[in-house]
Amino acid sequence: MLNILVSIKQVPDTTNIRINPETGTLIREGIPSITNPYDVVALSLACELKQRYGGKITVITMGPPQAKASLREAVEFGADRIILLCDKKFAGADTLATSYTLAETIKFLQKDDPFDLLLFGKQAIDGDTAQVGPGVANRLNIPVITYVIKLQDIDLINKKIIVHRKIERGVEVLEASLPVLLTCEKELCATPFVPLEQVIKATKAEPEVFTAEGPVIFTREKLGLKGSPTQVKKVFTPELKKQGKIYNLEEVPLEKVIEEIIGVLKEKGLL
């Protein structure tokens, strides 16, 4: 039996997102919200593991009331308990405040029944920081393995796990003892085609709502905007880099191309 926690985030669907050219900020109006795709991978893995080993899935998210939709989606993957952290005092949190809030909530949730496996997406597609998973693991004082692409084995008796992790030049194969926190890459798990009963159950699911007042006891100063030292100095649209010219040497003689390159370098004062 595995006791799994999955942490998810509702994000604007960035495939549709546009940037206001004057202010440089995201136009959020009318942009549909989705569950962060890497978190869907985490949910998919939880779903698969629950089928294979049995157990329980608890899903948490922090966000506005409409984040309920993502928690309902989690029920489709077999979530047994869904919790929404929703309070104005949580709003405006950076990764530091978010890690704190989630870690305290997880501590509260596992008081009687500790989690074996904590699954996070590798990053959220709106902020791209990839900091919350490791931040939570640190606060829970458990090992973290980021960018996991394959779960090779779980040994429930000896409480060990073997996973593959993506690194810049190759793959690391790591063994860790449970409990462990994994952050999930796309390749880790395919999205299951969930059964009808879960889909029906999901539309009616109502999450438990946790606020800053309880049931978890928080240090107020560490929450939301107050607890967020990150300051956004400037938001800007990166300029599109000019594309280089490409010559096909079967069509253009080499000498001509070299001449052209020399010409450009001279023009830029580099030669």
């Binding site: 085609f193 969930v194 009808l196 889909v199 029906i200």
Partner: protein, 438 residues
Amino acid sequence: MNKYLYDVVIIGGGPAGLSTGIKLAQKGLKTLLIERGRFCGAKNLFGGVVYTSSIKEIVPEFPEVDPSPVERPVTEEGYFFLSKEGVVKILHTKKRADESFTALRAKFDAFLSEYALKKGIDLAPKTKVIDFIRNNGFIEGVIVDRPTSFEDPSPATIKAKVVVIAEGVNRLLTEKAGLVTKTFEPEEVVLAVKEVLQLPKGELEARFGLSNNQGLAVEIFGEITKGLPGTGFLYTNKTTISFGIGIFLKSLMDLNLKPYEILEYAKLHPYFRELFKGSETLEYGAHLIPEWGIKGLPKPYGNGVLVVGDAAGLVNPLFREGTNLAIYSGLMAAEAIFYAFEKGDFTERSLRRYEELFKDSFIYKDLVMLKDLKTFLLSNSHLFQVYPEMIYDICSLYFSAQGRYKRDVIREIFGIIKKKRGYWGILRDFVKIGRFLW
């Protein structure tokens, strides 16, 4: 023992299916609604006007609901006659502002489905019905594409006393149920294309002369369809405009036109180019509208099955009623189902009640009245070509008649009429239209 047992299964989460569901749930029938889109409304499209009287039948508290599913009340309504050069508008300010509202389906259908869920139906989005459970000429439920459970990967089968098909215009399941034998012809459907345009902030109100709680709904004739039989429409939403065109699929095929080309062409018209200046296209959509008329309607009932809404061909193109009729057909289906449950008989014999109710309704009478509409429109396409141009030319002359002998102006006006259509031609058209509508 089957895992999924329901009194009624409804296929399709548009207004027809949802109204059926709301009514059934209110009477305590165990109902499952299956929708193939991500949510109800995700795959649906309409021009954009809903009518209070029909919505009140299913949501009595409408329009006092929060959050509201509608955009603006329609306070001004009328017609634009578009010539190549300009436009003649006939607009009237409505006596009552709460009769009809502009809306967008993604929001409106989602609202209805939330409401239906609260009333107690079960909802299965993202799920497709692949076939029926059949037994001795009876339809006893449906088979969907999703697995039964995590343990059982076979496609889920759902047993039900009655299956309501609310699948929309493409009527694939209606065909599978054996209630219609042939697929439709290009002259039997209108292809509607629509864009949702965002104007710069405050410009919508400024350009249309509206306040925050006023809205405009117009139908457009003439150059908007390149003079082809069909209409354009323009509705104002909260911060956007719904702008679109509906044309017989046949005309598009004959002229080898792509749907978006005709919409792009319309947006280049001098009047609309100015009106939409600085706008941005937020959404683009296309959808078929059934115009089968009374002769092309499927048989709307069978053993254990009913058909509602677009799938049943319930559209009144001339009076812009589709959503409206979908809702009414849902109500009638629900009533027929109650009757069947009372009698404990789910054969054709008791479900025929639906057709009886339908034949008594204004919907059927309207469809009878407009039975030859598509033939009439397709064989009188000059109405869409000649008249908008003529009306514009006459107005142009009349409104710039200063400093001239008025008898000359009037003579010139008659000259236009004579040249464009001829007195006899006009008389014939009037008689034809009169006879058609009478």
